[in-house]
Amino acid sequence: MELKLEIENKEGVTVIYPDGFINAHTVNQFEETLQNLVKEKHYRIVLNGEGLEYISSAGMGALMGVIEEIRDNDGDIHLCNLSESVFNVFDILGFTELYEIFEEEAPAITAFDGHNRK
């Protein structure tokens, strides 16, 4: 298994569960999923990294490719349950300043309550 992506809707928030790794080989699948969500106007997204083994710059680029449109529509991408090594990638790039990162899924979802609903 390389990358499996499951999507659930919880309290008006779309939660993505990647299982496997996101690199240049699997990124198209990840990118397509994000773009389809945006096309369907899902602007409140949580990326639950519990099953995410690793992410390379290709995956970070996929997130960057949709974040502007999401934020322009009062949405955001929250991250949670990241392993130490995945968190480290965000940290090395300074992306911990760009994305809100939570230890668990529940606060990552409820944090959207403060945002205007679209």
């Binding site: 390389e2 790794f21 690199n23 240049a24 080989h25 690793y54 390379s56 710059s57 290709a58 970070m60 680029g61 996929a62 960057m64 490719g65 974040i67 502007e68 130490e84 090594s85 480290n88 990638v89 090395i92 790039l93 300074g94 992306f95 300043e97 760009l98």
Partner: protein, 143 residues
């Protein structure tokens, strides 16, 4: 004493995970802790991806060689190819503040490589070109 290990594979992104797995094993052999080993394997992922993308333009019939050299002082990983060479002068690190303001999406691989490794350089020997990643075997990385 130097220890060498080489692995060669087709320039196909399907082998990226294998390349990172081999790198983690070599890092452990060189005495790096798990956290550093994972970081180094990510730098290798980025270097191999750059080779497949920019040196070979996704031509899967070409070959990439990973050459690991463990010396007393450092781990040297050469990502070798015979495609279009990349020189040190062509490498431009983006201004990350501007990068994030503009939500740009490319060019992060080289940033990761340079921030993880002690040194990253590019060179050629005739028609053989390489990206050299070096990590010192200091106490801070020991498992």
């Amino acid at each position: 004493m130097k220890r060498f290990f080489n692995v060669e594979f087709a320039a196909d992104t399907i082998f990226l995970k294998l390349a990172t797995d081999v790198t983690i094993s070599m890092c452990r052999l060189a005495g790096f802790n798990d956290s550093t080993a994972k970081d180094i394997s990510l730098a290798v992922d980025e270097a191999v991806t750059n080779t497949i993308k920019h040196a070979y333009h996704f031509d899967k019939s070409r070959l990439v060689t990973l050459q690991f050299t463990i010396t007393q002082e450092e781990l040297i990983i050469d990502v070798c190819h015979t495609g279009n060479p990349i020189s040190n002068t062509e490498i431009h690190l983006p201004d990350m503040e501007e990068y994030m303001k503009q939500y740009r999406k490319g060019g992060l691989g080289i940033v990761l490589m340079t921030r993880i490794m002690d040194s990253v350089s590019f060179g050629s020997n005739g028609n053989h070109h390489y990206c050299r990643l070096v990590m010192k075997r200091g106490r801070r990385h020991v498992g």
